[in-house]
């Protein structure tokens, strides 16, 4: 395949991935790596490098829209970013040392878990128990806008949430994904932060987390310009279009379809990793 054929094909594939990622809220990054590895026979390390950079683009690009809604909590984001960026460094360190097959197997497992998490019903996380003293000391408790004025919420289980964020950051640095599903899980299920605050704050954190491992990827030669270029532009364009039509579209069936695609890709990655295909 010549460059002139390869680049448009990858661009188109990334655009669809970015579009679906935005429509389903799963993010495009999660399918870029399997797409490149399975369909385009790209080495998993190049795929991870290109995907990670596209994650920064979508996270930063969406931030302005999220900020306007007034849900994200900059203090929660900044405090937890200590954990996610440290985890991302550890992940990037591992990515350079683990065998490609092992990375593929971990990737497959993460894909399947992510899609399961996306199908989960979301009960309104109720604040429970006594106030967390860390949350008070770190001034994490805040309010978010609702139809009947600002509503107060309290943050719980700070150490557990912080620990999980380290793990989410590590997965991001190891696999080149935003690991938004895990960040949201830590925030709304463990720390009992309202779902809408969790998702927007998670989006804010994804870019910073990815930037922490991107520098290492770049210096280690994981970032191939001829590959990263169509991936970044495609995902970015796709997610912009996706956010525009999100307001009108009913996404339930799309979410289910996308989740099934992700599971299939996950199985493919695990199988490929075990049989030494990568």
């Amino acid at each position: 395949m010549t460059t002139l054929v390869f680049v448009p094909l990858v661009l188109a594939g990334s655009l669809v991935a970015g579009l679906l990622g935005a429509l389903t809220g799963l993010g495009g990054g999660v399918v870029i790596v399997p797409l490149l590895v399975v369909a385009f026979h790209v080495n998993i390390r190049y795929a991870i490098g290109a995907s990670l950079i596209s994650v920064i683009a979508t996270s930063s690009g969406a931030a302005a829209a999220y900020v306007r809604e007034g849900f994200s909590n900059i203090r929660i984001a900044m405090f937890l970013e200590i954990a996610t960026t440290a985890g991302a460094l550890a992940g990037a360190f591992l990515a350079a040392r683990l065998a490609a097959g092992i990375i593929a197997i971990v990737f497959g497992a993460v894909l399947i878990i992510s899609s399961a998490l996306s199908m989960r019903r979301r009960p309104a996380a109720k604040s429970d128990g006594p106030p967390d003293r860390w949350a008070i000391r770190l001034r994490l408790n805040s309010t978010y806008p609702t139809a009947h004025g600002p509503e107060h919420y309290e943050v719980h289980h700070i150490p557990a949430g912080f620990g999980m964020m380290f793990g989410a950051g590590m997965l991001s640095g190891l696999l080149g994904i935003g690991s938004g599903a895990f960040k949201v899980l830590a925030m709304d299920q463990v720390m009992r932060i309202p779902f809408k605050v969790s998702t927007t704050t998670s989006n804010f954190m994804i870019g910073v987390t990815a930037a922490a491992s991107a520098g290492i990827y770049l210096r280690r030669g994981f970032v191939a310009p001829g590959l990263a270029m169509p991936v970044v532009l495609g995902v970015l364009l796709g997610s912009v279009i996706g956010t525009r039509i999100l307001i009108r579209a009913k996404t339930t069936w799309l979410r289910i379809l996308f989740a099934l695609v992700i599971v299939a890709l996950g199985i493919e990655m695990i199988y490929g990793g075990m049989t030494g295909k990568f």
Partner: protein
């Protein structure tokens, strides 16, 4: 929190976040344009060349270190210009963290100046060549 009574141009979280959002979006647009420009040059030059990403051979040194990337980009190398755009993209969230330090300082929030400095240090450590 302080959205009801903020008559003077006081620094508060909401205003800071608004500025950050604009900063991030601008960074993405600029870097996207640089990547696009580099991409066109790259396609013109390498269009007919077959691609092979099947085996991992770390990218050439010319597109790995910040200094080499900027140097080669200034000489009109499409690949280096793409990397330049990607560097700008990576720098965008780093810039957000940097401005958060200033914003927290203006708010007089010492605790968060320190917490944000920790994040900023980790990011610089990664970008400028700590752990490899």
């Amino acid at each position: 929190m302080a959205q009801s009574n903020a008559p003077r141009s006081r620094w508060n979280d909401e205003r800071v976040e608004r500025i950050m959002g604009t900063l991030l979006q601008t960074g993405v647009i600029i870097s996207g344009l640089v990547v696009l420009a580099g991409g066109v040059l790259y396609l013109v030059r390498y269009g007919p060349v077959p691609v092979n990403y099947e085996n991992f051979v770390p990218e050439r040194a010319t597109v790995r270190s910040i200094r080499a990337i900027v140097n080669n980009a200034l000489h009109g190398d499409g690949r280096a210009i793409i990397q330049c755009g990607l560097l700008l993209l990576i720098a965008t969230p780093v810039a957000r963290v940097f401005f958060s330090i200033i914003a927290f300082a203006l708010e007089g929030d010492r605790l968060y100046v320190v917490l944000t400095l920790i994040v900023f240090t980790i990011l610089l450590f990664s970008l400028l060549g700590g752990a490899g």
